[in-house]
């Protein structure tokens, strides 16, 4: 850790800040359905998820090693300031989508930020567009559909095979299954997403010459990344938990179990194959499939559509923000300070906005069910659109 410049220190802190937003942005992926069905109390759910995210961070460093070499060309002359611009862009996009309760992909925000900042700083040759298409865009489009189909089939099986069983046993069994499958998603999330931050910090250290290219993340990087994502997870992104748990479909225990099992399976098999897909998109797809196959068969498609728009927007929006940041840092130290101020200012402003309409562990599931009351099945759930956006 010797001879690390002030800028590199700032970049590392920013990377950990991104990791933290990643944690609370994605708590919902694993725990929204368990909280919605009452399998776990909200506070307990985020605590379990936080611990498992931390544990997951220590399982492997494979993803961390691919992020620097795969997506952008480390040899193209990327400076720590460029990584800084990328991270600020990713953080701002993550906070905006969190404020609106939209489960968008934290990974795509990070990728987008990196791509935009690299494009501006070093040009087209700095980004491996073939990797972007084959490892990010195509899996991003396909994985929620696969998770949705798998969850749909799994839900049908779950209801058919246990229809004649005792209510009590079914309830206990599926809630246990929900907790187990949600835990697996949390663990997989820690493994995937904490490593992305490790990869970014390692990339920064490599560009600053503090560690040799191609080396494993130093232990302190692994520990701090794991802790940052675990803390963020424990904080709980209640806005997004409400959208995923209540806004898409009314989820019962068998559906939650089916959706989480499908999500965990898709995430694990895909990361094993090196496809960098989004935990968020997979889990959302799973919940839609499970909602469609459930007893009511009602899915709130308007919320789903808004979510899909946000998914498509995430990569270009974060790229724009990252690119804009890269233009600033290109001005030298003044630009870097300005960007830092913009990042802190924007985060503080979004935080203040979020306090106007608080959503926390106490009121996260207090919303009318999908399709209940005077609203027609296909109109938006008021609590999932209006008040959150307010």
């Amino acid at each position: 850790m010797e001879h690390i410049s002030f800028l590199v220190t700032v970049v590392i802190i920013t990377a950990l800040a991104f990791d933290f937003t990643n944690g609370f942005h994605d708590t919902a992926n694993a725990m929204a359905t368990s909280i919605a069905t009452g399998a776990l109390r909200p506070k307990v759910a985020v605590a379990i998820s936080g611990v498992l995210n931390l544990a997951g961070a220590f399982l492997s460093v494979a993803v961390a090693k691919t992020i620097s070499g795969g997506l952008v060309d480390e040899k193209a002359g990327i400076q720590p300031a460029v990584v800084f611009a990328a991270l600020i862009g990713a953080i701002i996009w993550n906070l905006v989508t969190w404020l609106r309760g939209i489960p968008s992909s934290s990974s795509h925000a990070l990728y987008g930020g990196l791509i935009g900042a690299t494009l501006v700083a070093v040009g087209m040759h700095g980004v491996h567009f073939d990797v972007v298409v084959t490892k990010i865009l195509i899996p991003a489009a396909a994985s929620p559909i696969v998770a949705g189909v798998a969850a749909w089939g799994a839900t049908k099986i779950a209801y058919r095979t246990t229809a004649k069983g005792s209510k009590n046993v079914n309830n206990m069994g599926f809630k246990f299954g929900q907790i187990a499958s949600a835990s697996l998603v949390s663990l997989a999330h820690g493994t995937n997403d904490a490593q992305k931050t490790m990869g970014v910090i390692t990339l920064t250290l490599v560009t600053a010459g503090a560690v040799a290219p191609g080396s494993n993340p130093p232990t302190w990087v692994i520990v701090s990344s794991g802790l940052a994502i675990a803390l963020g997870t424990y904080l709980g992104g209640w806005r997004i938990i409400r959208t995923l748990g209540k806004g898409i479909a009314e989820i019962e225990a068998p559906q939650g179990f089916a959706a989480q099992t499908a999500s965990a399976t898709v995430i694990l098999t895909s990361s094993h194959m090196g496809f960098g897909l989004s935990t968020t998109q997979v889990c959302s797809g799973g919940i839609m499939g499970a909602g469609k196959a459930g007893p009511t068969g009602r899915v709130n498609w308007s919320t789903a559509r808004r979510m899909a728009y946000a998914w498509g927007l995430t990569l270009p929006a974060a790229a724009l923000l990252g690119g804009g940041g890269a233009l600033l840092v290109d001005r030298g130290a003044v630009g870097e300070v300005l960007l830092a101020m913009i990042g802190v200012g924007a985060s503080a402003w979004i935080y203040v906005l979020s306090r106007r309409q608080r959503i926390d562990a106490g009121n996260v599931v207090d919303v009318p069910a999908v399709g209940e009351g005077p609203a027609a099945p296909l109109t938006p759930v008021p609590a999932a659109s209006g008040p959150i956006a307010a």
Binding site: I157, T161, F174
Partner: protein, 77 residues
């Protein structure tokens, strides 16, 4: 640019099969437990109840094995 459609298709096909397999096993386990409860409540023989219990244990063990394999994959990847 080469897109590995086969790898992608394989990955997703395998995901689908594993999901349906694990969920089927888990549900068989749950319904076996339900049967056992019903048999015991009716004062049925312990043997029939025991048979259902064995089915449940085997089904849940299969799920646990799948989870274990998943953990092995991410830890080893």
């Amino acid at each position: 640019m080469s897109i590995h459609w086969a790898a992608l298709g394989n990955t997703f096909g395998v995901s689908l099969l594993i999901t349906l397999g694990v969920v089927t096993a888990f549900c068989l386990g749950i319904s076996a437990l339900s049967r056992r409860e019903a048999v015991l409540a009716d004062g049925g023989s312990a043997v029939r109840g025991g048979g259902a219990l064995v089915v449940a244990v085997v089904a849940f063990a299969a799920c646990a094995a799948a989870v274990g394999y998943g953990l092995y994959l991410i830890a080893g990847a």
